[in-house]
């Protein structure tokens, strides 16, 4: 049908809007990984369960972002690939908060 054909035509992406969306993504990523790291530290997760918790937090983050986009990711971002960046920084933030809270609570 015509509608599915015309969907392949070019989309007009507004650059400032896209940048703002990416920024929102990045901020949410930083905050949730920080919070997740703090939670992991407070609970006292160590080793593998700590890393598993990071992945869980990642999935929760993606799910929440999808909900914020109204499950209509295509409307706000040109592709799903924008999710791929910035995870290493998020991981480092996670480690920082995790170590910090773990040390604070469990070394007494």
């Amino acid at each position: 049908m015509e509608s599915s054909e015309s969907k392949k035509s070019a989309r007009f992406i507004s650059q400032p809007a896209l940048r703002k969306n990416l920024l929102i993504n990045q901020h949410s990523m930083t905050m949730t990984t920080g919070l997740a790291g703090a939670t992991a530290g407070i609970i006292g997760l160590t080793g593998l369960s700590g890393f598993a918790f990071f992945f869980v937090a990642g999935f929760v983050l993606i799910a929440l972002l999808q909900m914020k986009a109204g499950f209509n990711w295509e409307k706000f971002f040109p592709s799903y690939k924008v999710l791929m960046g910035g995870w290493v920084t998020a991981f480092k933030t996670y480690i920082l908060f995790w170590t910090f809270l773990y040390g604070m609570i469990h070394i007494y």
Partner: protein, 245 residues
């Protein structure tokens, strides 16, 4: 789950861990503002280079968004740029002087300032931390590390049977310095100068506001790219789409 539970002095918590973290963060802030103060100001380059960059950008935009224009408009613009007297053609054929970025004084100054401002605090604080806070365990990373890390993480401590998870204050400083990047982005917004990793990447010469190293090559590439761009009407079925909704 806590293997060999070593009890550390709670005073360490207050006088070592928290201060190092706070100092790392504050120094990052200082570095950011210092860079802003010391920066040369928005370096735009000469009129020639500005013209060059704008022309190239215009051509790139035409390539990217041209399919939203009517066919005639696209062809007019294309011919204007790469025709006989086109801006791109002229730029392609002139032999410009190759500007060596290494000899450009303003760029070197910026680069040096960036390098110094970023590396110096790290070295200074690292040295101070290892001097003032050496010889005892600071914290414990919550995951098991191999013995190879012991050499790295336990700088001042000479126990060979100690679990590699226990770290010295110096390694705590590094963990803090690396993990703070996310926090800096939250606090300082985009384009913050406290971001060290990105600063290391920015040590490459040239950049958005700087001068293009070889303008002729850039012109040539853009000329060829535009030449092979075909017009594709993206708005062909737009009436149908409108009538359908």
């Amino acid at each position: 789950m806590i293997r060999d539970a070593i009890t550390l002095d709670p005073q360490i918590r207050y006088w070592v861990i928290a201060p190092i973290l706070i100092i790392t963060f504050l120094f990052g802030l200082i570095r950011h503002y210092l860079m802003i103060i010391l920066k040369n100001g928005p370096s735009q380059g000469s009129l020639e280079s500005v013209k060059t960059m704008q022309t190239l950008r215009r051509s790139a935009l035409l390539r990217e968004n041209g399919h939203f224009l009517p066919a005639n408009s696209f062809e007019i613009r294309k011919r204007h740029l790469i025709g006989e007297q086109g801006a791109l053609t002229i730029g392609k054929d002139t032999e410009g002087a190759v500007k060596n970025p290494m000899q450009d004084p303003s760029m070197m100054g910026d680069q040096l300032k960036g390098q110094m401002t970023n590396m110096l605090p790290m070295i200074v604080i690292g040295g101070w931390v290892s001097y003032a806070f050496s010889g005892f365990l600071a914290a414990r990373v919550p995951f098991p590390l191999t013995l190879r890390f012991k050499q790295l993480m336990q700088r001042g401590i000479e126990l060979s049977s100690l679990d590699a998870s226990w770290i010295s204050s110096m390694s705590w400083y590094f963990i803090g310095a690396f993990g703070m990047r996310g926090v800096y982005e939250l606090v300082l917004g985009e384009d913050n100068q406290a971001d060290q990793a990105r600063a290391m990447q920015q040590q490459m010469p040239g950049g958005v506001g700087g001068q293009i190293q070889d303008e002729q090559k850039a012109y040539k590439a853009e000329w060829e790219a535009l030449k092979i761009t075909n017009y594709k009407n993206a708005l062909e079925n737009v009436e149908k789409m409108l009538l359908q909704t």
